[in-house]
């Protein structure tokens, strides 16, 4: 109940915030255009999507074998592998590794999976300093907020807001709204932090089973800093991130960068297959990878919903979602917002807690149109929506099936069902509605705040057709 209230409140807050509305509208327009520019040929795009989709489906169809192969090859490369079934386990494992290395200061590259396990809060509670280094994440962390978009974390903040936050934390620098200057100031600050850090933590974009290689995309260079400068590197990867072969990487990289930020390719593509070797002069001495489950293996068990795991976290669905454009990321109250968020998170955290998120969708299908790996998001969201109010076949996969069923709504649909499945009953009702159309309500819930109430006509089409002489069977 309280979750519903707070979703409502968050939605109200987002809709009432004009600055937010403006920021998001212009940001989404920008990202939509940039992506579109990268795909001038519809046939090429479809071919690339088909390939990418089949690569990801292939991974999921062989997931256990590929994970075992990945582990073997990583370990052969002197990269230690840990398996974590839950977020708590992942955090504890990371903490143990840091503790054994006596690590007190950690730098982190942009990683949604570490947001998912709430790593920062956990390490904070253990008195380990953890610093975001991606410029957007760094600024969001300074402002004590959460990222509002999986690829552009500070998209909800205006330049003025950023300058203010920056200058509050670093009064030694003169206040400026010049983007170049802020960037240079951040560079100075963060370079010191990279050098002082005892450990670097990153996510993983693709984990190649064939060669035991971790692949990371970025534009800024902070990811490379985090994974190269400190003596210890810990990478966290969802178990679905594995791909079978090295040759799977080029098409996925191509469609990822074009879909996510409308770039041909990111500034850096970093492929790591080993910590510092004996004859090398830099790179981390020690590397660990955490393979995180956190509900993924359960999702994998359901034939329909396992397509959720094809996601390569590009953010396209989010950018094209008209509901997200109205709300921004924070209103969802989840780590992942938009279409992928309302599909993934209720499956992970259960319907009792997050089932109402499935109402944040008009089923317009814009997301499915752009998903690089062809996840049928509206179909999955619709499925989840039905699980919130009925259905029990999914109860072995998700908590809380049917828990959002409300008696008034359910009775209304029973009545609807009776009327609409019995033509005689429908006939009586439609006659009544049309005859009494002048008494139709002038208001109905929130609808009438924005529109006039639709008025039933005083004859039905069935009547008109009959009067006009059309046959009726």
């Amino acid at each position: 109940m309280s979750q519903v209230k707070s979703l409502e409140n968050r939605v109200d807050e987002a809709l009432g915030n004009e600055q937010l509305q403006t920021n998001f509208r212009s940001a989404m327009d920008y990202l939509i255009e940039k992506r579109s520019d990268q795909f001038p040929d519809k046939d090429d795009l479809n071919n690339l999507r088909n390939t990418s989709s089949s690569i990801r489906s292939n991974s999921l169809s062989k997931l256990p074998e590929l994970l075992i192969m990945l582990e073997e090859n990583l370990e052969n490369n002197n990269i230690k592998v840990h398996w974590a079934e839950t977020d708590i386990e992942a955090n504890n494992t990371i903490y143990q590794i840091l503790k054994e290395a006596n690590a007190k200061k950690v730098v982190k590259g942009k990683s949604m999976v570490t947001e998912e396990i709430e790593l920062n809060e956990f390490l904070d509670s253990k008195n380990i300093e953890i610093l975001e280094t991606d410029l957007g994440e760094f600024l969001v962390q300074l402002a004590n907020e959460k990222p509002s978009h999986i690829v552009m974390p500070a998209i909800h903040k205006s330049r003025k807001e950023i300058s203010k936050v920056f200058s509050e934390h670093f009064p030694e620098f003169p206040y400026t709204e010049d983007v170049d200057l802020i960037t240079q100031q951040a560079r100075k600050i963060l370079r010191d932090r990279f050098r002082e850090a005892d450990a670097g933590i990153s996510g993983v974009n693709f984990a190649v089973a064939e060669t035991g290689t971790l692949c990371l995309v970025e534009n800024e260079g902070n990811g490379r800093m985090c994974t190269t400068v400190p003596p210890l590197h810990i990478a966290v990867a969802g178990i679905e991130k594995v791909v079978e072969n090295l040759s799977d990487v080029p098409p996925l990289l191509d469609i990822l960068t074009k879909s996510a930020t409308g770039q041909e390719i990111t500034t850096y593509f970093n492929m790591i297959s080993s910590p510092r070797k004996n004859d090398e002069k830099d790179g981390p001495m020690v590397m660990h990878v955490i393979l995180l489950d956190n509900g993924r293996s359960k999702i994998h068990q359901n034939t329909e919903m396992q397509e959720t795991l094809k996601c390569i976290r590009c953010g396209s669905c989010i950018n094209h979602c008209p509901v997200y454009t109205q709300l921004g990321g924070h209103a969802y109250g989840t780590v992942y917002p938009g279409p992928i968020g309302i599909t993934l998170e209720p499956q992970q955290k259960g319907i009792s807690e997050l089932g109402d998120l499935t109402s944040l969708c008009t089923m317009c299908g814009a997301c499915a149109e752009v998903c690089p790996v062809q996840i049928p998001l509206p179909k999955l969201i619709n499925r989840l929506r039905s699980e919130t109010v009925e259905g029990d076949y999914m109860s072995q996969f998700i908590e809380g099936v049917g828990s959002q069923r409300k008696s008034i709504e359910s009775i209304a649909w029973q009545i609807w069902k009776h009327i609409y499945s019995h033509p005689t009953l429908y006939s009586i009702c439609s006659k009544a509605i049309t005859k009494l159309s002048s008494f139709s309500p002038k208001k109905f819930g929130g609808w009438s705040n924005y529109r006039v109430m639709p008025k039933p006509s005083n004859t039905s089409l069935k009547e008109l057709a009959k009067q006009a002489g059309f046959k009726n069977e």
């Binding site: 944040l360 499915a368 039905s386 609807w416 499945s421 039933p456 057709a465």
Partner: protein
């Protein structure tokens, strides 16, 4: 499949709220030499319940439609979302049911109204109306699901006195989403306001659509704003402009 005789599946929204528009569609088909049957026992494709998660109820209503369309002739639907419901979602709805095959026999005969006019009838239209400027709103189902957004444009392009003005972000959802407009009324309200803003910026006199749900949403918002722009279903629009008696 015989093309000279068709069923007309009005849809629940058209039956009660847009009957004149539905009739216009039927008369247009008749004028083209097609015999149109309006099965008296039809009610609804089941979409409202399906999209609200009430699949058991949606199935009951959907299956009651099957026996209304026994003859192997096309079923014309003046709505992209209802046509889409039948064509793309009945498969999921009827999965494992004993009448799955019977349902599929209906599915394969469904055409959305503009799709039928352009692809099957290859209709030729002569414009008898006054010069006018309109905007076209294509429903998300027609665009993303059915992929027939070009049909309404093709039909309008045959009307020599009609100029089409294009609104910004024309492929963005209008915010109707069926029960979404009630369940998330404020988000929906904000979306329809954005939509009417882009439409009004074209200065077109009217917005045309193949979808009554969108029309109820956009038209209702325009009316509430006392905006000068009218809204109309494509069937009514074509009938008025190409029929001598108007």
């Amino acid at each position: 499949m015989l093309k000279s005789e068709v069923y007309f599946f009005g849809t629940c929204l058209v039956d009660l709220f847009f009957p004149k528009e539905g009739l216009a569609g039927m008369k247009l088909l008749e004028r083209e030499g097609i015999k149109v049957i309006y099965p008296k026992n039809q009610t609804c494709c089941g979409q409202p319940a399906f999209n609200s998660g009430y699949r058991k109820e949606a199935l009951k209503v959907a299956r009651a439609q099957i026996k209304c369309f026994p003859k192997n002739i096309p079923i014309i639907v003046p709505s992209g979302s209802c046509a889409g419901m039948i064509k793309f979602h009945w498969r999921d709805l009827f999965k494992g049911e004993s009448d799955f095959e019977a349902a599929m026999l209906v599915v394969e005969r469904v055409f959305e109204f503009t799709e039928f006019l352009v692809d099957k009838l290859e209709i030729k239209l002569t414009d008898l109306g006054e010069p006018t400027q309109i905007a076209i709103h294509t429903s998300c189902s027609s665009r993303n699901e059915m992929k027939i957004e070009d049909k309404i444009e093709q039909l309008v392009s045959q009307l020599s006195e009609v100029e089409v003005l294009e609104q910004e972000r024309k492929s963005e959802c209008c915010g109707f989403g069926g029960t979404f407009a009630v369940k998330q009324a404020d988000i929906s309200g904000s979306m329809v306001q954005d939509k009417t803003n882009t439409l009004l910026a074209t200065n077109a006199s009217c917005v045309i659509s193949q979808e009554c749900g969108c029309l109820m949403n956009i038209g209702g918002a325009l009316e509430k704003q006392n905006a000068p722009m009218k809204s109309q279903h494509i069937a009514q629009f074509l009938w008025e402009r190409t029929n001598e008696s108007g």
